[in-house]
Structure formats: C-alpha cells, structure tokens
C-alpha cells in the first residue's frame, strides 16, 4: 500500500487562515480536511452583558468584507425580539446597502481572487497584464459597492450607521441620486464580466448538494424569507435548530453545520440561484440563459458565473431602489426593548448568516449564537475537495494542490468569519 500526503500549509486568495490535509491511500482519497486553525474569536462570548444598542457595531467587526450581513442578521433578530417592524423605504434602504455589499464582495472574489484560477495565472496582478479591461471593471464594481456601503453605512468597512429599527441617518434624494449613474455603469461592467466568465474553460462537475437558502415570494432574498432547501425543508428561521445542528470537529476551530438527518448542505450563490430563480427579473434570467445557465446550476466551478450574475442583479436592484426612493419621515422605527428571544437570518454574499439572541427586559444581551455561512459550507467544501482529488490521485502534488485550492475558492470561504483558514498537506499511503 502506498500512502501519499499533500499539504497546503497556507491557502492563498481566501479570507482567513487555514490549511488543507489530503490523505491518499492505495490511489483513493481517504481524508480531505479543511483544517481551520485561525483562533476562535469569541464574539458569542463577548456579546452577553452588552447593550442591544452596541450589537450592530460589535458584530460588524466579525468581517471586513461582509459586515452588512452580520449587522443585518443581528438587527433583524433584535427586532424580532422587540416586536419592531421595519418596512417601506427603510426596508428598501436595507436592501440597497446589502446590494453594495454583494457588489463589492462578489467583484473582489470573481475578478481578483477566483478568475486567475481559470485563466492560468498565479494571481490577479499577473492576470491584469493580459486582462486589464476586466480587472479595471472589477475594481470599478468594487468601488461602486463600497460607495453604496459608505453612503448608507457611514463607511465601507465596519459600517457605523446601522441600528435596530433602521439607520442613525438616512440620505436625502439628492445624496442618493448620483449613485444611480454609478449603479448603471456598474451594471454594464457586471454584464461585460458575466460574458467574460461565461467563456472561461470551466471544468465539468456535478454535485448532488442539498441547497439551502432564504426564499421570499416577492423578491430575490437579502434580508427576509423562509429557510428552504432543494430536498423539501421549508421552515421559519426560528426553527433552524429543528433541522440543523452544529458539530465540533477536531481539525477545525469552526463548527461544522449539518442537516440533522442528512448531513452536508450548501448555501451561497448556487443555492440562492436554484431556489430563487423565479424571483430574478426577466432581464437577469435572460442574461443567465445567455451565459449558459439553466434554472439551477450544480457545477461548483460555474459558481463564478452565478456569482457574477448576482452582481448584475444587485446592480439592477440598486437602480430600482434608488429610482423609487422617497426619504422616510424617520431614520428608524421607534421601539422599546423587552425581554425575549429573537432570530435573524440574511443572505451574506457567501450564504445564509443565522443569528439568535436572548435579551433581558432592558435590552441587555444575555445570550448570542452566530452561524456564519462558511461554517455551514465546510462539510460540502470538504466533499468537493475529495471529489476533485479523487480524479487526480496519480497527478503530481502541484496539480492536486492547485485543483483543490480552486475547488475551495468556488465557495468564496470567509474563514475569519467562520473563525475560524489554508495550507495543503497531501498524505499518500
């Protein structure tokens, strides 16, 4: 029996710090562990004893790329506990700031981190020498997304303008209006990038994922909806623990989330797209068809196409919201804190971000649970790595290593969020 071990001691072009251990025995992959060694960050332990007013600003610190996801899940959970309804233009502004986050996060991942894998470049810097136009458009999209986050969040990294009930300050029509031209240009860039990525040499693969995403009858999901799956789950977000559980694994400081009765599942762009195709506007559906996508996509390597399509959607949604904007009378809905438990679940760029908080009568946080998207996707990512490596066991380690890293980047993991990242070790026996 021959044993082969391939190690990637530090995975590049993903967020956070982790490694990959791959064990190959007698030509078969026996273990594919995404070993996350970034130390735990203790946010759930830090929050109890803090005021509800501090909640959005503390959870924003979980991630510099997707802070809005954490803020939105947190404020929705608090509003659930306090009986607050945020609707009308305030709700629309929340979708708009989420559009900003999707645009900047997807642009960064698609162009700067993931595209070099398909085109045979070691990084975006070398890729820019041959694909400068695409890189410029990616940077322009990131800037446009950041601009929306800055306008509505006060700043693009760790925004400070999000509060329970709405915002501390809302923009005037005049302040928001210039963003329409930016969003229109961003939409054109995103369509160009969609055609660019659709022509990439995309490896064949098909995985039988159980997709999990929010589903809202009237819109492609950002902030609200029921939790649904491709295998029939259809629950209120408060029933998460009925169907899902978090498990400790020895090789990761991030918990692994599983469906209790079936195991691994996948959240993120592929899941959102498959479960919410009908919620996309016809313009976006038409572009999906042009890009070669059906009503669902089970090839993880095509996630780059779906992610780019979601950028187009986010730009169109931003344009719609800006065009319809009438400043509301109040920047936030009034509320009084009360004792209770609240749940929030929103769609981070890389998948559902589920929160649960318990509050005392004065609004002090007494318990917090945060289930980030990357910890939910880890088991599926490991299964994908095993599938990728299984077809390459006789190849040199460098080939296996590159294919595995590419496989991981299909899912845009945010390891710091999960807390929770990559070195590759291949152990061949």
């Amino acid at each position: 029996m021959t044993t082969k071990t391939i190690k990637v001691d530090y995975l590049a072009r993903v967020e956070g710090e982790g490694a990959l251990d791959l064990h190959i025995e007698s030509g078969k992959v026996t273990t594919a562990n995404l070993r996350i060694f970034e130390p735990p960050r203790f946010f759930e332990a830090m929050l109890p004893g803090r005021s509800h007013k501090e909640l959005p600003d503390i959870v924003a610190r979980i991630c510099g790329i997707c802070p809005i996801a954490y803020q939105m899940s947190a404020v929705h959970a608090a509003e659930d506990a306090f009986g607050v309804t945020v609707d009308g233009q305030l709700r629309a502004l929340r979708r708009l700031v989420y559009c900003g986050e999707w645009i900047e996060s997807h642009a960064l991942h698609v162009v700067m981190l993931h595209a070099p894998d398909f085109l045979g470049f070691p990084d975006a810097i070398r890729m820019a020498e041959k694909h400068g136009d695409a890189v410029r458009k990616g940077l322009a999209l990131k800037k446009a997304g950041n601009g929306l986050m800055k306008l509505l969040g006060g700043r693009e990294i760790h925004p400070v303008n999000i509060r329970i009930g709405g915002f501390y300050r809302i923009p005037s029509r005049a302040e928001l209006a210039p963003m329409a031209e930016t969003a229109k240009e961003a939409r054109d860039h995103a369509v160009d990038l969609l055609r660019w990525v659709a022509d990439f040499p995309i490896p064949d693969a098909r995985h039988d994922y159980e997709f999990v995403a929010l589903h809202h009858p009237g819109e492609y999901p950002f902030n609200e909806g029921r939790l649904v799956s491709s295998a029939g789950i259809d629950i209120d977000i408060s029933e998460f623990d009925d169907k899902f559980e978090e498990r400790q694994v020895a090789h990761s400081t991030a918990l692994h989330s599983m469906i209790k009765t079936r195991g691994a599942y996948l959240t993120g762009p592929l899941a959102r797209y498959a479960l919410n195709y009908d919620q996309l506007p016809e313009t976006v559906q038409s572009l999906a068809r042009e890009a070669g996508l059906g009503t669902e996509c089970r090839n993880p390597f095509q996630s780059i196409v779906v992610r780019t399509l979601e950028m187009v959607y986010a730009c169109e949604e931003a344009l719609r919201i800006i065009a319809d904007y009438e400043p509301p009378d109040q920047a936030s809905a009034p509320f009084e804190p009360q004792a209770g438990t609240g749940f929030g679940c929103t769609e981070a760029p890389r998948g559902i971000c589920w929160h649960q908080y318990e509050f005392d009568a004065d609004g002090t946080i007494s318990a917090a649970r945060i289930v980030p998207p990357t910890s939910q996707n880890q088991p599926s990512i490991e299964a994908d790595i095993a599938a990728t490596a299984s077809g390459l066991v006789e190849e040199p380690d460098d080939v296996i290593r590159h294919a595995c890293e590419m496989t991981i980047r299909n899912h845009d993991p945010c390891i710091s969020c999960a807390a929770h990242f990559l070195d590759l070790s291949v152990h061949r026996a």
């Binding site: 072009r13 991942h109 990084d123 400068g132 890189v135 693009e156």
Partner: protein, 162 residues
C-alpha cells in the same frame, strides 16, 4: 484640497486606533497646510485596492505608513521604487485584503501606476488597540514630515522637467 493634475500625491496610510499604526495619519496632521499647491495630501486607511483610484492623475506618489519593527522602533526607512523592487514581504497575497505592495504591482500591470513612487515607512512597536503613538515613533513624526516635504519638492522639480 483639490489635487494636482500630474502633480505629487502624498498618501498617508494608517489607523490611529491601533497606536503606532496611526503614524501615517500623524504625519498627515503635520503636513496639512505645509505642502505646495501641486501636491495633494490624502489620509487613507483600510482597503489598499481603493488606493489605486487615487493615483489616476498624479505623476509621482509619496506613501507614508507604519511598518513592522525591524528592531529599531521610530527608525525611518525610504524606499524609492524607481531603483528598488517591492520587497517580497509586501506581497503576501494571502487573503481578501490586498497590501500596498500588491496595489502598486496591480497598478503597474494595468499601466496606471505613477511614474515615481517613494515610500516612507516608520518602524512601529505597539500595534495594539488604542490611541497614541509609542514614544520613539512619536519622536519620529516631525523629522519624517520634514523629509516628506523635501521629497515632494524634489519630485515636483523632477516631474516638471520630465
């Protein structure tokens, strides 16, 4: 301050809430009002990719930032990228976060990097949470600001005759 078209851009980078990482911003505070008309002063933090947007219309760039200690906190280092390469430890490519070295390399690939780039780094020693520079870094701020003013004058002259 509106900027020069084809002038010199001074980008001071840092986070004053992480002690010595605020050295660049402290230098910007000293430089405010002290630079000639064809120089533009910007304070920047966070996203290094966003720095590229600032470089569109400048002929020369001076960056000021804190750097990790090499054993002598407060020591000022000058890197002239017209005659020195970007050190490998400025190119980590390891996360969603891009560094200054990567931003410069990317701008060069795109053909949008300024013709001259000079980086001043001051060695820090305390990058913990909180406000206030460590004593040796604090003492280096005035001399560093003086060197930046001199560098800007030289670069303006060079670019005027280029």
């Amino acid at each position: 301050m509106t900027a020069p078209s084809q002038g010199v851009l001074v980008q001071c980078i840092g986070n004053p809430d992480r002690r010595d990482d605020g050295a660049g911003i402290a230098v910007a505070d000293r430089l405010a009002g002290c630079l000639p008309d064809r120089a533009k002063l910007l304070r920047r933090s966070g996203d290094m990719l966003a720095l590229i947007d600032d470089w569109d219309d400048c002929a020369a760039l001076v960056c000021v930032d804190a750097i990790a200690s090499l054993g002598s906190p407060g020591t000022i280092h000058r890197l002239d990228l017209s005659c020195e390469s970007i050190p490998s430890d400025m190119m980590p490519m390891s996360s969603h976060a891009f560094g200054l070295g990567e931003a410069i390399a990317l701008a060069r690939s795109l053909g949008s990097a300024p013709g001259r780039i000079v980086i001043f780094g001051v060695e820090g020693t305390d990058f913990s949470d909180g406000v206030g520079l460590s004593p040796k870094v604090s003492q280096s701020i005035d001399p560093l600001a003086t060197r930046v003013i001199g560098e800007v004058a030289t670069l303006l002259e060079e670019t005027a005759h280029a």
